[in-house]
Amino acid sequence: MPEVLDAAVRLLAILAVFLVLPLVAGQMEHKAMAHMQARLGPMYAGGFHGWAQLIADGVKFMQKEDVIPAAADRRVFGLAPAVALVPYLVVMVVIPVGPGLVGADLDAGLFFVLAVMGIGVLGSIMAGWSSGNKYSLMGGMRSAAQLMSYELPLVLAASSVAMAAGTLSLPGIVEAWQWWWLPWQAIGGVVFFMAGLAELRRPPFDMPIAESEIIMGPMTEYTGIRFALFMLSEYAGIIVLSALTSVLFLGGWHGPLLPGPVWMLIKVFALVFVVIWVRVSYPRLREDQLQKLAWAGLVPLALVQLALTGVVKVLAG
């Protein structure tokens, strides 16, 4: 019985994190982007600097009519947001926030994360294909191509950390982490973060959902609560990517003075800020530039990182 209770508390905590942190990230994006562009952003909802803007949005989405176009494949169209959202929740189960503070310590944690995160993109391919809309179809194809190209550098960079730590369990990786891994794994970290951004289709890698060219791509036909679920999955993805990058490359809960989970939170939100900053600063990459960056830029860099990791590990250890 105590084990069941223990598991239930962990699941509740994960659910709370999953429902709250994406909203915090979204609000942070509203405000940080606005101030970088010399605007104010939301100021009205909730009174103090528009803190309740996303809650108000949620209430509005909840009451909106559910429009499914006549040309769409209804069943796949309805299922797509769930396929996009649920994997990010499931991934959170293996991300450690402190010593012993993890949903489930899987032996193959890193492998599990990479496998499950790949499923999220299926949601946007399904949405693109089922909408019966040319823009959506193009967006869906671009999503698929982007996943194909950026999954490889992501996997290679992640396996570099697994080599360094000698384990695939995420808590094990954080425990093995030393400060000098920062310079040692720096290339891998940058490659992982960039490839992760591309998998989330965040700017500047947002060719699949480019709103000024193919009007949000796979999400063109979505309204109301299903659109809200897609948005939530995007921000949950940002949280998951930032958390994974901190766990794998920035030492997770390690840090002086403050307790572990606080350090984890600081690192996650520092990375979330970088995600927003990059969105405001860089123009969108063209589709062929996107593909070229993956194959001629990130993959070779990831291979260099693998070689570096192997040589240092064998010679030093």
Partner: protein
């Protein structure tokens, strides 16, 4: 053994929680939303003008080459993971390091080949 399945039971439970979250949101939406479908509202959106032709239009898919590349390299990369956990264990060291460079050489050669064949260029 129990612990092994126990940790995956937590994963399965979280999956069920995820389905409940999505199902709950859709159910609450069903309770709260109006429903007044009209023919115009259900038309495919193409920037305000009437849609031209079918939704599943033909277009040239250039991405299949990347799919091939990906399948080839991802299958290689999967084998990295079991290897990564033991490659520096006592007794391996240098042997596995040489193996790694052979592996990296293969991947690099593959990408170089794709580049020379100009599949990475767009036109």
């Amino acid at each position: 053994m129990d612990e092994y399945f126990g940790s995956y039971a937590v994963v399965a439970a979280l999956f069920a929680v995820g389905l409940a979250v999505v199902g709950g949101a859709l159910f609450a939406n069903r309770m709260l939303r109006p429903s007044r479908p009209t023919a115009e509202k259900l038309t495919t959106y193409e920037c305000g003008v009437d849609p031209v032709g079918d939704g599943w239009a033909q277009s040239q898919v250039r991405y299949y080459v990347f799919t091939y590349l990906y399948v080839v390299f991802a299958v290689d990369a999967v084998f990295l993971f079991p290897w990564a956990t033991i490659f520096a264990d006592p007794g391996f060291g240098m042997t596995t390091l040489v193996e790694m460079f052979v592996f990296l050489g293969f991947i690099a050669l593959g990408i170089l080949y794709a580049w020379r064949k100009r599949v990475l260029a767009w036109t």
